[in-house]
């Protein structure tokens, strides 16, 4: 297949393309007041101290602690951790920005990113917990009994971590720029310093505990300003998540804070809130589908299911996680609608910072905006932390400790993990200096990668015992190749892969994902007799374990030592 030859060339092209100047980032003109802001800076520094402090108290001395944080997290705690991992700068700032810019069409991001959890729950969550090892590459590698599959999965995990983190760094950069009055470039480096210090000190044991604290900080920061904002917009201030409906109804009639819109302006705002004003039916469905399969195939979300006590907790933590995420997604359209109300005709320049720009225009008060900004920062930080761990563990655990040096000690694997965390961080910084799209769009591309490679391989691995290593290799290479082609096409501004094209980089899974399924099934059937008996027996053991069938090796992994806070 020609895609196999194309991949190395494409990766090269991606690296060179992303290094070039694409879009001047940080050109967003949103500040009423520029320069250093003391009160938000104090709030922010206090928050960062809390995060690093918590990380410091729970230092890590054992590899298993670094990867999945012991195995004793309950359904509420794990739900909050899922939500905190999830609530990134993309959902915090990016979704509000897209809803502001694209109106109704932007809602595709909301249902895509919530509906995916239903897929995850029905098809994957409990089974992955039953398997009970550390990482997704490990799961795929064992199930298909192939180092090739393990390597592709590890590469995909790293690629997702880079793409997704880029979006977070853009968000973190915009926020620190707002608070400290730094240039965008300086704030990206600042953010990198904070992330690295935090990650390297604490490892994931710290991250997990933090993520529950971070969720609370984050959701309160996001919700509290809404009550004040909705009152300033003329609402009753009881339940903003319902009251903004009337504002949207009014906006469709052209009523804004500045008075009645007329003529072209009215037509433009009205069009934003009509279903197909910013994209057609196909583009909407393609986007929703891509985000859903991507959500269900995202390694750093799936890794959460290894950290719970049993599969019952795994199921219930999806429910809680989705509810916690729902709180955010019922609220981000409020920011977008209020942004429209005060600034109906702002363009791309204000979109990614609408959650700061709308409150500024509404006169929210600097302390509240500072708290909101700190929340967005926390969202970005916690996501980056989870991603870098998933990426570093893909390299240290799945490549180094499994394939390259199977006899290495725990300490060596931990060291490789730390070095690679730093390396990943560096790559992300370089890409984040010239981000290729809006925050939520960059994130959507990471979802396309996950949905086209990991999701089909995991679903078939669990639910189709005939799927074998050759099928998985073919399907995953095809999915990865097509996604990379679409991403490069988007960056090169090829219309076919652009926002209005047939195969947009943000929405490629509607076409590519079913094909990846098909290729895996067809190739598996064609190569059925090429799999050796020993290999098929090893896959069989894994399948039996996934479905609690008799005959599988039913060994619970050794219980992890409880990490002592002062160890």
């Amino acid at each position: 297949m020609s895609t196999k030859i194309l991949i190395p060339a494409l990766v090269m092209a991606a690296v060179t393309a992303s290094a070039g100047p694409l879009l001047a980032a940080g050109e967003e003109i949103y500040q009423i007041e520029r320069g250093f802001k003391l009160i938000p800076a104090i709030i922010m520094v206090a928050l960062l101290c809390v995060y690093i402090g918590v990380g410091f108290i729970s230092k890590v001395s054992e590899t298993s602690g670094y990867w999945v944080a012991g195995r004793g997290i309950g359904k509420l705690g794990n739900g909050a951790a899922i939500a905190a991992d999830w609530m990134s700068a993309a959902s915090f700032m990016g979704v509000a920005g897209l809803l502001y810019l694209k109106g109704w069409f932007g809602l595709g991001y909301i249902i895509g990113w919530t509906g995916g959890y239903v897929l995850l729950l029905c098809l994957l969550a409990a089974q992955i917990r039953r398997f009970g090892k550390y990482t997704i590459p490990e799961f795929l590698g064992d199930r298909y009994d192939s180092h090739g599959v393990r390597l592709i999965a590890a590469a995909v995990t790293v690629l997702i971590a880079i793409t997704y983190s880029t979006a977070q760094f853009k968000g973190i950069g915009l926020i620190s720029g707002w608070i400290f009055g730094m240039s965008y470039t300086a704030s990206v480096f600042f953010a990198a310093g904070v992330v690295c210090a935090y990650m390297l000190i604490s490892g994931m044991a710290g991250v997990t505990r933090n993520q529950q604290i971070q969720y609370v900080v984050l959701i309160s920061a996001f919700l509290v300003p809404l009550w004040i904002l909705i009152r300033n917009a003329g609402g009753a201030g009881i339940l903003p998540q319902l009251e903004y409906g009337a504002i949207i109804g009014d906006l469709m009639q052209g009523k804004t804070a500045a008075g009645q819109l007329t003529g072209d302006d009215l037509a433009r705002v009205r069009q934003d809130y009509l279903p197909w004003g910013n994209g057609n039916f196909y583009q909407f469905i393609a986007l929703v589908f891509t985000l859903m399969v991507g959500t269900a195939g995202l390694p750093h979300i799936m890794i959460r299911f290894y950290t719970v006590k049993n599969e019952d907790v795994a199921r219930k933590s999806v429910l809680w996680g989705l509810f916690f995420i729902g709180l955010l997604y019922w609220s981000s359209p409020v920011y977008a609608a209020l942004g429209k109300f005060w600034n109906p005709l702002g363009g791309t320049a204000v979109a990614d910072v609408i959650i700061l720009s709308a409150p500024e225009r509404a006169g929210l008060g600097i302390a509240f905006i500072g708290y909101l900004a700190s929340g967005a920062m926390a969202a970005g930080l916690s996501t980056v932390a989870g991603l870098l761990v998933a990426g570093a563990s893909a390299v240290a655990h799945d490549w180094y400790a499994t394939i390259f040096r199977p006899d290495c000690s725990d300490r060596q694997a931990l060291l490789v993990g730390r070095i690679f965390t730093g390396a990943l961080c560096l790559i992300v910084v370089i890409v984040a200096l010239n981000p290729p799209a809006l925050i939520a769009q960059i994130v959507a591309m990471a979802f396309a990668i996950a949905g086209n490679t990991i999701f089909p391989a995991c679903v078939l691995g669990i639910w189709y015992s005939k799927a074998n290593k050759y099928g998985a290799l073919a399907g995953m290479s095809f999915g990865l190749g097509m996604t990379l082609i679409a991403m490069i096409g988007w960056i090169m501004e090829v219309p076919f892969f652009g926002p209005g094209g047939i195969l947009p980089a943000t929405s490629s899974a509607l076409i590519v994902c079913p094909l990846a399924f098909l290729i895996n099934i067809l190739v598996s059937n064609a190569t059925d007799d090429r799999v050796s008996n020993e290999s098929a027996d090893r896959s069989d053991q894994v399948i039996r374990k996934l479905h609690n069938m008799p005959g599988g090796a039913i060994e619970e992994p050794a219980p992890r030592k409880e990490l002592h806070p002062m160890a």
């Binding site: 909301i110 249902i111 098809l123 199921r315 989705l322 997604y329 069989d540 479905h547």
Partner: protein
């Protein structure tokens, strides 16, 4: 060992054991609702708005809780629906695990 007949046979569309059948039937129930929410609602909005280039229709004119109906259906209808689906999944699963053993064998579970 080595006979393919002795290996586990797993196929989502043709589950082999009683417990897997139950699992699959729960997953299918949820997926049907999931599909209806995710793609059925946009389809209805699309069909209703065929006469207008931007999809304006009675759905965009009707108000529900103050929202234009087409907006509420996606922004809150679908998301609330997903959470209820996850709840339903957990409930169905809990019910499955307390069914007495005698009822779990045989073909009636599908």
């Amino acid at each position: 060992m080595g006979q393919s007949g002795r290996r586990a046979d797993v196929n989502f569309f043709n589950p082999s054991t009683a417990s897997m059948k139950k699992e699959v039937s729960i997953a299918r129930t949820i997926l049907v609702f999931w599909f209806a929410l995710s793609y059925g609602i946009p389809l209805v909005i699309w069909l209703a708005g065929l006469g207008n280039p931007y999809g304006a229709s009675f759905l965009t004119e009707t108000r529900f809780l103050g929202f234009p109906l087409h907006y509420w259906l996606i922004a809150q209808g679908c998301t609330i629906g997903y959470i209820l689906l996850c709840k339903l999944y957990c409930v169905l699963w809990d019910k499955k695990t307390i069914i007495p053993r005698s009822e779990r064998s045989g073909r009636d579970v599908y």
